[in-house]
Point group: D2
Chain length 264, copies 4
Amino acid sequence: MTQQTTQPLRIGDREFTSRLFVGTGKFSSNEAMRDAAAASGTELVTVALKRANLSGDSDPFANILDFLESDRYLILPNTSGAMNAEEAVRIARLAAAAGLPKWVKLEIHPDPNYLLPDPIETLAAAETLVKEGFTVMPYINADPVLALRLQDVGCATVMPLGAPIGSNRGIETRAQIEIIIEQARVPVVVDAGIGAPSHAAAAMEMGADAVLVNTAIAIASDPAAMARAFAKATQAGREAYEIGLGATSSKAEASSPLTAFLNA
Amino acid sequence: MTQQTTQPLRIGDREFTSRLFVGTGKFSSNEAMRDAAAASGTELVTVALKRANLSGDSDPFANILDFLESDRYLILPNTSGAMNAEEAVRIARLAAAAGLPKWVKLEIHPDPNYLLPDPIETLAAAETLVKEGFTVMPYINADPVLALRLQDVGCATVMPLGAPIGSNRGIETRAQIEIIIEQARVPVVVDAGIGAPSHAAAAMEMGADAVLVNTAIAIASDPAAMARAFAKATQAGREAYEIGLGATSSKAEASSPLTAFLNA
Amino acid sequence: MTQQTTQPLRIGDREFTSRLFVGTGKFSSNEAMRDAAAASGTELVTVALKRANLSGDSDPFANILDFLESDRYLILPNTSGAMNAEEAVRIARLAAAAGLPKWVKLEIHPDPNYLLPDPIETLAAAETLVKEGFTVMPYINADPVLALRLQDVGCATVMPLGAPIGSNRGIETRAQIEIIIEQARVPVVVDAGIGAPSHAAAAMEMGADAVLVNTAIAIASDPAAMARAFAKATQAGREAYEIGLGATSSKAEASSPLTAFLNA
Amino acid sequence: MTQQTTQPLRIGDREFTSRLFVGTGKFSSNEAMRDAAAASGTELVTVALKRANLSGDSDPFANILDFLESDRYLILPNTSGAMNAEEAVRIARLAAAAGLPKWVKLEIHPDPNYLLPDPIETLAAAETLVKEGFTVMPYINADPVLALRLQDVGCATVMPLGAPIGSNRGIETRAQIEIIIEQARVPVVVDAGIGAPSHAAAAMEMGADAVLVNTAIAIASDPAAMARAFAKATQAGREAYEIGLGATSSKAEASSPLTAFLNA
């Protein structure tokens, strides 16, 4: 495992060494998911309640929690599939009642094509859940004003999307995310759209505090190897951010001396 | 050091484990350069003849070769500062005569503002030097036809630029480099413009065989740490390329199941 | 004036021949504003209430309405400067009470640096004003779900931003605006960020129904000439959209025949 | 026809009012081509020799010149299909011998997939043809050093590509074309890749002197209407360039006053 040397990240009452968070959907098996999570070095894994339920029904992924050591990872229940605040709140409460951490990744996306988040319902659910003591991490469009409002009601992070979930298109919302980062008082986690290690590195170089990756790892031919690649790129981007990247310039600047060596 | 697990890269008669090549200009000291080269894990270091000369003049960098172990790195002399083919050929011959490897990074850039390479002079010099037995690695504009012609005359690689030298602007010539890679029969090394680890990762994900980085490492506040960041990103990008990245899509694809869990 | 041959645009109970809407801020004088509006061929001019008030105070622009023929233009009051829904509603009512059309461009932007719109307050104000019979045109972040919700409550258009107001950066939110257009049941007007005629043309080519331009015209050395340039580009983009633009391709396709003419 | 008010463009001994040049390939008929050329307002039409030949063979387009009034347009023979300098020179001479203007658009593209130009052969052919008295307009990759060399040997323009011919992808080589324009001593005509009116406008706003469009007009469902759209966009972009576009800014700048109007 690559040594981690960057600053730790604090969210709520937890501290994270790795700035790569991973999702658990779309893997071919729970074993593949487990191995990829381990390979990624992550300390935060998000799980949809359906996958994590205890109902014993026939979903082959129903026992997903058996594959995730709770002392190694923070299990972050998410509300994927919720159409409105009421449903999201209900899911979060069920997760907590089932013994999962009182954390929640709020995902409220009424539109089935693009799975884009609903700003109104998300803010409403966030207010309710923060009051109930949840550590709330909302998935949002890259909307700087919404990001501030969610911080105002006590969210622990904001999680703006780079591009639609599963699209692998990278950080299409760069200009807006730069504003969110500039104004943020809580960690900013870039979520959705991160389809390649270079995207993860770029997010970190912009000053994002973490990235969440799922599809690009889960559907790779070798998820564990891809998880390692994302881990390296995330570290690389963060390291570069902490060291400080040079400004861009419009003219060239010689990296080799252009003196009259031929006359030497 | 991160473990390297990707395919080795062959150029001429050499094989490289690391796909990150580094330059030696712009460092604050030879010591800083040496440490950054070591931290990068590179096996190829390019040196301008002036820096590497043996004339004993007062250039504080004149003894740069003392800082580079020749059994650890391939020392690649470059012709930076050459205005035409004749000058470049002369520099290459001087380097070989001085005992440096019979390899050359051809850089012929008559324009002082952007240091962009001259396609005509570069092809002429390449033809001459290949005939003389040099392993020739030409720095070029991202011109697919020129890249093919340089391969036709026997160049060992082509090194298209991403953006002007030292500009840190990344891969502005992406569309052209994609064509160069698609058509290449020799390794493609993206050179110039790589200003952040995410740029290096992106080049590798596109299928470039290696990247050459100088300014972004040399001018960092901590060059060795920045070199490590570039090394990780380069590996991450290459690993993702070898594993295979998913296609991008215009619609979202849920990474969590969207079934009716509330009814479960 | 260039002849307009594209389909008319219907918003609320009005029909527009021109798809270029203009703002009235930042001009050096009311005369310059009047001439630019005339040159633009627009039929919709937006006016901040302060500029349009009837209080007779010392604002040199206070009599702006004297410069805008109400039979030539729809005067669209905007709520620029409103910090929340309550203020925006108050401004809209004042404008209507003062005899202005019962239309309103909702602009609620609590942040003074980027003037980005507040999704929560905008939706709240929209609901109220639609119920009061206003034709409501909300300025919003490029948030597809918010756009749908505003349509659900009866807004006459949605006006997503391309980039922050006055930034001249063009359509940075392209991917999100494409989704908004695809899903829209009302006209989509791209607002803010349109800094060059090419940006206006690009918005129309994407399928936007209209664009709103202010800063780029107002601060030009010759606002009337710049307004004409924007008018041409807006028409050109719309015409191309209606005719249908070709798909892009990754390979070249010869536009000249490549047959063996030398043997002819 | 829209009135043209921008500065005239001088190339060689000719002056052009319109800055839109058009090609004649890919049209469904000579009639469609003729009507589109007329609708575009162009004064320069480029024709491949094969199309323009006088051999009376069975090519349905062989009599293309009958459809182009030589007092209305400068007929610019192009060497499309030439694989090297020798072939291009031969075509140019044939065209001149057949009575066409002693002008030539040099196109030498050995690669059949991308039709990208060969820098070496293009420079060689340009040198020969300039010496023979031709007005030479070379189609080139967006290579600033090559552009300068072609100017040094007496070319009347340089014609860098925005993207591969027929790809409709727009100006992918923007950064390189900006340098070409900055350094140019002759008109710069952006050629290839211009697939939408917004691309033509953007090229002109960057300071290009003209654009050449073929595929996007020829394959449109209504080529004459599309030609008019390109004409308007080209004019709009040029007008904006001559008037002067505002700088972009990272922060917003209010276009409406943000004073305390509610207290008025």
